[in-house]
Symmetry: C2
Subunit: 417 residues, 2 copies
């Protein structure tokens, strides 16, 4: 079973929008264990969309086409699929009334343009969940070699994701598994390379090769670490989830503290949850990371019960005046220990996290580019580490940010009593 | 003349890396006025790369293939192009010695793997600039319909960009213009919709339609505003640049303060340059934006001569203790005026910029989601505005960030004496 992805929209080709939908869909397919060999972007042109879909059907069993389901004249994905299927567009009364209901709920009447969104290719099934006003489609394509399928989902990311989870992935799983249930879970890890991870899990992977209970795969996600995907196949949902629970527990025991979360967890959501559970508040003193950690934390809705605030004391005198720091060596462990403690004091928090280092491009104060000191203070006990980060200014800062959050996570874990 | 883009790498299909190279190349092609109808991602598989390249050559005049030029066994783009050209790979002694020289410069000897990087398809030209160890290629493809071309560039973004600027785009321009020189310049604008911009420039666009001196195009770049591209075609470089200078001056006069920069300028690089020219320093008080503005500013290398630092006072008591604020209505113009003035005082800066608002998902303090107050204080004179931003939490924060920077830019412009 393999499935390719087609993203529709001239704005994608012009570089006006980054096609993150295909990236996300590609990852979901990989997580589901479905091969995907091609991704194509094509503009809002009927002939070109049809030719891309026909080619995709020739080389893959399934095609997910994303975008072009809106109400305007530019939105021609429905018509292109009908052309590929060799059928007419027909108005679906249930979809029409679902769209009308959405407008009524907002006390608005439906513009006539939106009627277009209820026109679907004859023989297509509508994905039951319609988060916006665009209906997703499951379009069977029958030819000499058996049944293939085109899925159509909207280009609006949250609408697309909901339809993928509720409609497309279950249907793909059903086709791939012919009756069996496939479920997967992701363990998020940070701090080990892929080869070290593989080494640590070598015995377990070989055990699974024998028992066939589940499979394990590694997926890199840049500075955010490595994902370990567990996939289980069973006769029913309960049995599949039981396998996942058992295997996840086994892997967590083998990997220890490098596992920071599962599935949709992020490093910052995990740290906020730890703090909340421990009834502790957080303050930041970010010199090196310059507000990056704060902006990630504030990105999590509902952070305000835990997050007190941050100081970005870019100059030494501000480290002194805002945080009461005495130390004068800017990039040093003593400095970040004083900054973290000062953040607790000045921002009245239980926990302080501090960064100071050299992001480049030039060395500073006799310190090499990439050197970062991180300080953590929890209930008046402060400690620090020094790391040396690779790459350029932007990536050094991003790596510094996640390294600091991971240090805080581990220290909170140790001091959770 | 049209040109499509092929990105090579299995990690792109697995969702491990977002293919930002194609986005950037797509924008460069649009800026250069070259049509681009398709973009394809394909994994590290020889047959699939060859089939994608052959298809691309069938439907486009030129193909830019990005990635797969490294030294490992996975890097098979060179071999795939040779197969498409129907030629052998031959070792290029000049490329080999250029790579050897790179290793010598770092006091390292060249691993034998890297010899692969000097193997190029017979008949291909090497792009003269080699920023890393991968050589870029210009590969002519002759068939019945005349000459087409494949360009090969590395997947490392900065290497790719340099080769695009130095090798690929000039060659594409030469092919497109058949002797003439094509140059373009981008005016960065912020604050007007595409239709308003078109309305303001309507007369000028009609004048250019008559005179044929230059063409104008609009390119959206999300929250970063609209780009206005001027393209000029002339017999030589000097004449083309003269046209660009004249037209840019004309457009800036018509558009006024919504033009914030040209070409590679960003809102934050422009604000930093203004402050530097005025010999003023900056401090931030970011409640709503939570460190986003600081992290953008610190992202600009060399900001420390101007940027003093920031405070993220997420709770009211920190607005009082760190910034000396008296006001108690959290989202109000009085609040951000006091915060901006407090930032100047507490962080010892000439200019203060402050944000306070409701990012959502829930209303707060009787204030709707999306309401943002921004305060600016320059040399003890403080003022504030209130805006209402659309969309979800993440985009509300991003929009708030750029809106605040733009307000500061305009106020600095007004008070530049």
């Amino acid at each position: 079973m393999n499935c390719e992805v087609v993203a529709v929209g001239s704005e994608l080709l012009l570089g006006q929008i980054t096609d993150t939908n295909s990236v996300w869909i590609g990852e979901q397919l990989a997580l589901a264990g479905i091969d995907s060999h091609y991704q194509t972007k094509v503009g809002d042109n009927p002939d070109r969309i049809v030719s891309v879909l026909e080619l995709a059907l020739k080389r893959s069993d399934a095609v997910i086409v994303c975008g072009g389901l809106g109400p305007t004249q530019d939105d021609i994905t429905r018509a292109a699929i009908a052309a590929v299927m060799g059928v007419e567009l027909v108005r679906d009364p249930q979809v029409l009334s679902a769209i009308e209901a959405k407008f009524r709920a907002r006390n608005r009447s439906m513009p006539s343009n939106n009627e277009r969104q209820a026109e679907i290719p004859q023989g297509a099934r509508v994905i039951p969940v319609i988060p916006g006003t665009a209906a997703g489609l499951i379009c069977p394509i029958n030819n000499a070699k058996g049944e293939k399928v085109i899925y159509a989902v909207p280009g609006v990311p949250w609408e697309m994701r909901e339809m993928m989870h509720q409609g497309v992935l279950p249907d793909l799983h059903r086709r791939a598994a012919s009756g069996a249930v496939i479920r997967s879970r992701v363990l998020r890890t940070w701090g080990l390379s892929e080869s070290s991870l593989a080494e640590q899990l070598d015995k377990e992977i070989r055990r699974l090769d024998q028992s066939k209970a589940a499979t394990i795969a590694f997926l890199a996600s840049g500075i955010e670490g490595l994902k370990v995907r567990i996939t289980a196949k069973a006769d029913n949902e309960t049995a599949a989830l039981k396998i996942l629970d058992d295997e996840a527990a086994r892997l967590e025991a083998l990997l220890g503290s490098i596992v920071f979360g599962t599935d949709d967890d992020t490093m910052e959501s995990v740290v906020l949850a730890q703090l909340r559970a421990q009834n502790r508040t957080l303050a930041l003193a970010e010199s090196f990371t310059g507000g990056l950690i704060a902006s990630r934390i504030v990105g999590v809705a509902g952070c305000s019960d835990v997050f007190r605030g941050a100081v970005v004391p870019y100059h030494l005198d501000l480290k002194q005046s805002l945080l009461g720091v005495q130390e004068r060596q800017v990039v040093s462990e003593r400095m970040v220990i004083e900054m973290a403690a000062g953040a607790c004091r000045s921002l009245n928090a239980d926990v302080g996290l501090a960064t100071s280092g050299v992001a480049g491009p030039e060395p500073h104060d006799n310190t090499e580019v990439g050197v970062l000191c991180i300080g953590v203070c929890i209930d008046d006990f402060a400690e620090a580490i020094t790391v040396k980060l690779p790459f350029d200014r932007e990536r050094i800062r991003q790596f510094g940010c996640i390294t600091a959050l991971d240090l805080l996570r581990n220290r909170l874990k140790r001091r959770c009593v």
